[in-house]
């Protein structure tokens, strides 16, 4: 039996091995993924992001537990849940310590859950290069909801927004003043905002600040408002909720599950699902194209030419832009 068949039948070891092949960009892995692709497109991809220490892993643990108890509207059985947890690779050794499973022990032994840790392997946007492909494999393997936990994100790790249908941004109390809440970046990508550790004094303030910031952006999310206008206006718009949770005790989780389900419903009834799918696929294809073009270009260069050009720029004989211009002269792209 091929690994494609095994994975479609729910063989977990075959799935785990495919995920490794995908991470290593092996030709077998890409081939299997190609064969599985027609079976994808069912899963709801939910991104979980936020600063280090806001409680992402703990929240993912509790969220998955609650999703496993609470069927989606119109369904009788709870969704199967895939978890992809990304942690950073060391820029020096290339190694990584992936510790997200420490907080996910409650999910052990549930065959409806599959957790995979990924190292970012040098990617900067808060995900790994292969995260989208790993999500596809879990989708094909029949996981209905895929929680993608980013590396601890600062202000600019916003790749998750173009890789997920629903983005949950987690804040913790006392992480910054009102100006922080109004800066561009991670808060702008939220479909759902969560103030975790809401039992810490100051949580009310954080919630109020976030709500105020959302009000200043108009009704709901600026990003969605812009998308809506671009599409000629929509009857329904999404108002970004600000939820309070104490993930370690499971408080606020049923609410969060409800909001995730209602965001999915909003996306499908408003037509935003297709629009986001289009954007998601486009962004994935663009990044694959970029990588592939760079790889092919470098392969065509005579040995050492690129390194020599780097040195020319280091010596200040050319600017980086001039050097690239020269390298590309005569190239048919």
């Amino acid at each position: 039996m091929t690994s494609t068949d095994l994975i479609l039948q729910g063989d977990r070891l075959a799935l785990a091995r495919l995920l490794t092949q995908i991470e290593n960009e092996s030709p077998e892995g890409l081939e299997t993924l190609g064969a599985l692709y027609p079976h994808t497109g069912q899963a709801h991809l939910v991104g979980i992001t936020g600063a280090p220490g806001t409680g992402k892993s703990t929240l993912v643990n509790q969220l998955a537990l609650h999703l496993r108890k609470q069927p989606m509207p119109g369904e009788d059985i709870p969704p199967r849940v895939g978890v992809v947890a990304v942690d950073p690779s060391s820029p020096f050794s290339g190694g990584a310590i992936l510790g997200d499973r420490i907080r996910m022990r409650d999910l052990a032994g549930d065959p409806g859950v599959f957790i995979r840790s990924m190292a970012s392997r040098g990617a900067l946007g808060g995900l790994a290069r292969a995260t989208a492909a790993v999500g596809l494999a879990l989708d094909a393997a029949g996981f209905h909801i895929i929680l993608i936990e980013t590396v601890g994100a600062g202000q600019a790790e916003v790749d998750i927004a173009s890789n997920a249908h629903t983005t949950v941004v987690i804040e913790a109390p006392s992480m910054g003043d009102a100006v922080q809440a109004n800066k561009a970046g991670i808060l702008e990508i939220a479909d759902i905002l969560v103030v975790n550790k809401a039992d810490i004094p100051g949580a009310d303030n954080t919630v109020a600040t976030l709500r105020l910031s959302l009000e200043m952006a108009g009704s709901g999310n600026a990003q969605i408002a812009v998308e809506d206008r671009a599409e000629g206006g929509r009857e329904r718009s999404w108002e970004i909720p600000v939820l309070e949770t104490v993930a370690i005790k499971g408080e606020g989780m049923p609410d969060l599950v409800d909001k995730i389900y209602s965001h999915r419903e909003y996306l499908t009834t408003s037509g935003m699902w297709e629009i986001r799918e289009g954007k998601r696929v486009r962004s994935q294809m663009e990044s694959l194209l970029r990588d592939e073009l760079v790889k092919r270009f470098l392969k065509r260069q005579p040995d050492g030419r690129f390194e020599d050009t780097v040195q020319v720029v280091v010596n200040r004989e050319r600017s980086p832009a001039q050097a690239i211009e020269e390298l590309l002269k005569g190239e048919k792209l």
């Binding site: 070891l13 290593n24 060391s90 190694g95 310590i97 420490i102 022990r105 032994g109 995979r116 840790s117």
Partner: protein, 138 residues
């Protein structure tokens, strides 16, 4: 194609709460360029086997200081082999009497590291078990 990355699971089976040694080893393997999945304390054999499968690791490192190794390790080896992962290297660290170490090796534990083991030795063993030359790693 990206060069093979070695993936290692480091875990603490059983009830002892001392994970300094496990952390030191995890850190050393990370600095040698490996991806180390650390599961934390008080793992049951079933949890360890499940993580070994989902993470598709090359090597599993168990750290046991409680003296319960003869109760825990054979069960872990059996579960991992039983789920089709015949090639996963399993190593053990802790205070393990020689007699027990020999029995565990017969059951399929690749290596047993006692107190004071040099981390370089552990790194070399993990490279060997993963079937990768140290200089193959980028």
């Amino acid at each position: 194609m990206v060069k093979k990355k070695i993936r290692v699971l480091i875990c603490k089976p059983g009830l002892d709460g001392h994970d300094r040694g496990a952390m030191v080893v995890a850190r050393a393997l990370r600095d040698a360029g490996m991806e180390v999945i650390y599961t934390g304390l008080r793992q049951t054999p079933e949890m360890i086997a499940e993580s070994t499968l989902q993470e598709d690791v090359d090597v599993v490192g168990l750290s046991i200081l409680s003296g319960a190794h003869m109760a825990l390790v054979p069960k872990i080896v059996e579960l991992i082999r039983g789920q089709g992962q015949k090639d996963v290297g399993i190593v053990l660290g802790g205070i393990i009497p020689d007699e027990d170490a020999n029995k565990l090796k017969e059951l399929g534990v690749a290596e047993v590291f006692g107190p004071g083991t040099n981390t370089q030795e552990i790194i070399r063993t993990v490279f060997d078990l993963a079937g990768v030359e140290a200089n193959d790693i980028d």
